[in-house]
Symmetry: C2
Subunit: 355 residues, 2 copies
Amino acid sequence: MKKYNFNAGPSMLPREVIENTAKQCLDFNGSGLSLMEISHRAKDFQPVLDEAVALIKELLHIPEGYSVIFLGGGASLEFCMIPYNFLINKAAYLNTGTWAKKAMKEAKLFGEVVEVASSADANYSFIPKGWTCPSDVDYLHITTNNTIYGTEIRKELDVNVPMIADMSSDIFSRPVDVSKYDCIYAGAQKNLAMAGVTLVIIKDEKMGKAPRQIPTMLDYRTHVEKGSMFNTPPVVPIYSALETLRWIKGNGGLEEMEKRANERADALYAEIDRNKLFHGTVAEEDRSVMNICFVMNDEYAELEKPFFEYATSKGMVGIKGHRSVGGFRASCYNAQTMEGVNALIKCMQEFEAQH
Amino acid sequence: MKKYNFNAGPSMLPREVIENTAKQCLDFNGSGLSLMEISHRAKDFQPVLDEAVALIKELLHIPEGYSVIFLGGGASLEFCMIPYNFLINKAAYLNTGTWAKKAMKEAKLFGEVVEVASSADANYSFIPKGWTCPSDVDYLHITTNNTIYGTEIRKELDVNVPMIADMSSDIFSRPVDVSKYDCIYAGAQKNLAMAGVTLVIIKDEKMGKAPRQIPTMLDYRTHVEKGSMFNTPPVVPIYSALETLRWIKGNGGLEEMEKRANERADALYAEIDRNKLFHGTVAEEDRSVMNICFVMNDEYAELEKPFFEYATSKGMVGIKGHRSVGGFRASCYNAQTMEGVNALIKCMQEFEAQH
């Protein structure tokens, strides 16, 4: 039976990314060695890194004056690296969910933190609006997509301070005006690669201003100066990122990724809104096109487990909602197909017909 | 032509580790999903982590009261995490090379650091001896194998303070008395796995004593409490570690790994000592069995490049010495075979006969 992967992360990757990476693991570029055992200093690896960086700059139209690096440790490590490197006096954070809150917690170790707004009281079911950001902050930190709650900021915010964004779960799903950001970071395991590498895009002139000694590995300058090769980078995860970036470019770039994301999300949200068993959990204008959260209507609450089992029996994988929201979450990252979405919609319709 | 991989790291892995990992990348446990796209919360991944941890405990005979975790970021990140977590007042460091020095540099950001001894003046060609360690330090940090210089501490040191060891390049190559250490850490990309994961073994009672606030991701307690699942772990690198650990156990464990390492090293050092073209760079009693460094004798200095080209033409990969030492370095980690070592010895003998 065909499986449809709706995992929230690590998550579905294009099949050709998987197959090409597995192939290189057996024999890298016909060298007779595995990608798993080549030196990162081997002459064949530098082109991997260079092409990946070039494709990121091309796809995101990154302006001059920014560096692109790959790090290990996950986006969670960036939560402390951001204030370590960029918090001089005061930083603003928009609290849109678990990950935003975790990022904010780390910043408090380094300076004054202003929470400009929060939707915590509504279980993060919407993106706060109508707030203002103090003009004297070093940066405003946002989480563009909230994987757990299924909300998303899909248009650049109009603020008068530089932004820093955790784009872990929606990067490469739409064009972004990078010039509005001092830093963008993203754990790879949604739209970019297997887990084990983190992408960071940094405005060069903003590095080295923070009034503190930074441990070498936590200082972005270390990695920028050495082109992500200060220490051994995660070779295989970076290679899988390159394959994904090639796939994105070959499939029409970020405009096409956005179009496909909207098509998938429109179809699934339309079914959620139509189907008498389910409803969405998020304010309509803030619905994520990456993580689509829905729950049973109250009168059908006892059908939650049976629907999960029915969908699972039809090949749906990873649709259980996060415990903070309950119900269901269908993650539809770049590699997700309309075929997958339609298979889920069919489950929902068949299950509705049975009840 | 068959290639023999002498890379210093990332480095040779057993072929079955490579093939099994590549196979799981195509279809994980027959699930229809790739290892690259499964959730770390999937029920099939927890057993991977559990088995890997259990094998590490078994192979190293780790006593009660220690935790085993996997982290991202590389051993270089541990250089600052060690003092962040364990340096209360004063720490001692044994300076045996580039990596030891880098570890020491980070510690100086957190407290008083005593360099108990150094062989820097001799280009780190031996392990300092006859030094004493102050009894009032929180720990003594050592680097058991010095990848760049080819020296190794292969017996537990006899000191009266707890030790912390960077075992990145010789872990699992011999039995270790873990009880002598408060912490052992190792980047995976030599004897354990593809690059992208770091192994840390920690004495539980030593955590949480340092008088400072530690960013969440840099606090070992975070990862111990969550069983390496505080954030998304590097799934595929961890899987490749599991495969290697199974291979080590299936091949006789650490006693057998040590025996094989000694056999390989004895054969290669014997040839280096015998061959009129070459000599070793390291004091005999401190020779590493993992990284075997040798250079041309002065009168044959002009043959360095020709020998490199000759060996390369015969399938040797990665034998160029680090720029800090020059000449050649044959890294012979666990996966290296006598066949590989004999192929290199044959090159050395053939080249000697030609000149």
